[in-house]
Symmetry: C2
Subunit: 134 residues, 2 copies
DNA sequence: CTGTATCCTGAAAGATACTG
DNA sequence: CAGTATCTTTCAGGATACAG
């Protein structure tokens, strides 16, 4: 599964049709990770989610929640009240995703300094090269 | 840091300007995770990477590698030969990212069945609802 | 309050052709 | 071989208005 560097990587190293590709939490989906974090502490209603997700529109929030519901990581519970109340929560499956997510988030936090330093170094080298050729 | 469900989520729950947001491996960047996996076994040259990354164009591969180099997770080594040879490899920082990434990938593999089942259930319910209202 | 319906924009990705 | 240069496409995301 992990070929060494001396042998060529096979063309079928990745399955282009692998359904994992379409898991929202892995692909684009700008807000998914943040929504997960907002639901970590317990159920939240729609308007409650909009507060910390500064800048999100109701359209995008609704779309994101629907995609997550589709994948079974979020549940939607409608209460027949007036005014209407809808609560979103992590499913058991969603909860199991928190751990892996935390690993990546922790990495980001721990290596933020390294990252910023790498970017500065990269730009310094760019400047040096451009300076010489000029 | 993790508010309970009974207290409201503060508007500053997330820092909109947090640089972590721009880490390629966390945001969009369709190919980043796959490129990481290709480099896991050791250094690879440009054309070698194109084989398993079925469908990627040289333009997008070059852009992706540059972004990863910028963030310090990939190194680029140019050998002064003819024909030219360039090798890409994971940096030490890049290697530390493999662990967290694996956690998410493992989750995807382990829960793929649950995911597909959730999607089917979702679509069944949709059909049921549409059927009733029709 | 919890959304949907439109329309629009910008950035990422793809197609194609070409260069040192 | 290892890219760059253009041009086109695509689509997630945003703005705005409105509905149950």
């Amino acid at each position: 599964m992990t070929p060494t560097a001396t042998e060529p990587l096979p063309p079928d190293f990745f399955d282009p049709d692998c359904p994992v590709r379409t898991v929202p939490v892995l692909g684009g989906k700008k807000w998914t990770w943040k929504i997960m974090r907002c639901l970590e502490g317990g159920p939240r209603r729609f308007s409650e989610l909009r507060v910390p997700l500064v800048g999100i529109t109701s359209k995008v929030l609704a779309e994101s929640l629907r995609a997550m519901e589709y994948d079974g990581v979020v549940s939607r519970t409608e209460y027949d009240e007036n005014p209407p109340r809808v609560e979103y929560a992590l499913t058991p499956l969603g909860h199991t995703l928190l751990g892996p997510m935390d690993a990546v988030c922790a990495w980001s936090r721990q290596n933020l300094a390294n990252l910023l330093e790498a970017r500065e170094a990269y730009e310094r080298d760019e400047d040096a090269r451009a300076g010489r050729s000029r």
